[in-house]
Symmetry: C2
Subunit: 218 residues, 2 copies
DNA sequence: TAAAAAATCACTTGTTCATGTGATTGCAGA
DNA sequence: TCTGCAATCACATGAACAAGTGATTTTTTA
C-alpha cells in the first residue's frame, strides 16, 4: 500500500460530532501527503461542499442529523463517481453496512479504529482498495454467503435430463418447444415434468420455475 | 484486536512452496502466543493432519497440487466448523475469492502481505473477524453490489393491483386462487394478467414469473 | 448379474390458461 | 369537461397443461 511521492490526497470529512471532526481534521493535517480540504458537521448542501473542497476521498459518518451518511454516499456516488468514500460508524450492524455498500461506499471502518488504521484506510481507499475492519468484513462475507446458499435445504436430486428440461421451463418454453429442442416426443416431456413436479413437490409450471430459481437447481 | 493474556493460538499451515512454508512456520513460532502445530506442504490426508495438529486457525494456500485449498476449506468447514481458515494466495482474482468464501474461508490475504499484517490477520481470524486486504475487500463488495443491482433496465410500471396479482402468480397460485384471495372474479384476474403480459412482453405464467423474480418487480 | 434408476414413448381426461372482443365504473390530469 | 387509465366483469375458443396408467430400453449400481 505504498504511495508515490508526488501525490497529495485531498480528504474531506463529514462528521456531526464536533470533537471527533476536529480530531480527524488534525489527524489528516498532521499526516504528510494528506490535506484536509473540508471538515463539515453535516451533509446539507452536499454538492456545494464537495465542489468547494474537491476531495479525492471523503470520510463520511453514517449517522448524521439531516441528510444521513448513506443518502449522502448515494448522491456522491451518482454525481461524483470518482470520489471514493470511507464510511465511519460506531456500530457495525448488518443493515447499515449493507445499505452503505449498496449506496457505493468504498470502505467501512469503525470509529474506535486507531489513528494508524484510519490513515492506512484512507490511503487504501485512495488506491482503489476497500479497507474494512475484520469484524465488518466478516459480516460482508456472511451476506455474500447467505445470498448464495439460502437454499438447498431439501435434498433434491434431479437427473441431468430433468435439470435440462427444468432449465427450459424456466426459460418460458412450452412442452412442444422443449420436445423440439430435446428431440423427444411431447409425451416424454410430459413424463419428465411429471417426475420433476413430484421431486419438487409442486403442481404447476410456475411453482416449479420459482423453486428452480430460488433453490438454484439449474 | 487485543488478545487476552492466557491464550495461545494454535496455527497450522498448508503451503506447497517449501520455502514459504518454512518462513511462515518460523514467523508463527517467533510470535509470542502463537504456536505452529503443523506445517504441511499439501492437503492429502487432511483430516489426519488436522486431528494431529488440532489447530484453532489454519492458513491455507489456495493453489496446491493434489487437493486444492478451496476443496480443503470445504472439507474443514463441514467436518471442523470451529476451525477458522485464513486463505492465502498470490493473485486476487474474483473467481477464487468467491469460491473460497463459498467454501467457508474466514479471511483472505495476499502472499505479498507483510509479516506484521499476517500476524494481525491470524489474530483477527481467531477473534472471529474476517481480515482481508483492501484489494480483496473491494472485489467482495463488488460481488455483493452486482448481485443486488442487476435488473430494472426496462422501465416497467405495473399498477398496484397488477403487482399484487403478479406476486400471487409468483407464489404459484392459479387464476382461481387469485380470484378468491383478491375477492374478484376469475375473469378479472384473467384480464389483469393479460395486461401484465403485455407490459412484460411475455406470453405465459412462467415467463412472467421469471421476469418478476429477475427484475425484482414484486 | 440382477435390480434399480433414468429416459423414452403412448393414450386419456378434465382443468387451466392465453387471447380476443367488448363493456361499465370511477378517478385524475390536461 | 373531456380523455385516458385502472379496475372490474363477461363470454368464447382453441391450445396447453397436469395427472393417471402403463410400457420399453438403456444405463448405473449394488
Amino acid at each position: 500500500m505504498s504511495l508515490s511521492n508526488e501525490v497529495t490526497i485531498r480528504v474531506a470529512v463529514f462528521e456531526d460530532n464536533e470533537q471527533l471532526l476536529e480530531s480527524l481534521h488534525q489527524l489528516i493535517e498532521a499526516t504528510i501527503k494528506f490535506i484536509c480540504t473540508g471538515a463539515f458537521s453535516n451533509a446539507q448542501h452536499l454538492e456545494k461542499k464537495i465542489a468547494q473542497s474537491n476531495p479525492d476521498v471523503v470520510i463520511m459518518d453514517i449517522d448524521m442529523p439531516g441528510i444521513n451518511g448513506i443518502d449522502a454516499v448515494s448522491i456522491l456516488h451518482i454525481k461524483y463517481p470518482h470520489i471514493r468514500v470511507l464510511m465511519q460508524t460506531v456500530f457495525d450492524d448488518n443493515d447499515k453496512i449493507f445499505a452503505a455498500i449498496r449506496a457505493g461506499a468504498s470502505g467501512y471502518i469503525l470509529k474506535k479504529s486507531s489513528s494508524a488504521k484510519i490513515i492506512e484506510a484512507i490511503v487504501d481507499t485512495y488506491n482503489g482498495g476497500a479497507p474494512m475492519t475484520p469484524s465488518v468484513a466478516e459480516k460482508v462475507l456472511n451476506m455474500l454467503r447467505y445470498q448464495n446458499q439460502n437454499a438447498q435445504a431439501e435434498n433434491i436430486n434431479l437427473s441431468e435430463r430433468e435439470k435440462e428440461i427444468l432449465t427450459l421451463l424456466v426459460k418460458g418454453k412450452s412442452y412442444k418447444m422443449i420436445a423440439a429442442e430435446c428431440f423427444i416426443s411431447i409425451d416424454t416431456v410430459n413424463s419428465h415434468i411429471k417426475n420433476i413436479y413430484e421431486k419438487l413437490h409442486v403442481h404447476s409450471k410456475s411453482e416449479a420455475v420459482v423453486k428452480a430459481i430460488n433453490q438454484k437447481l439449474i
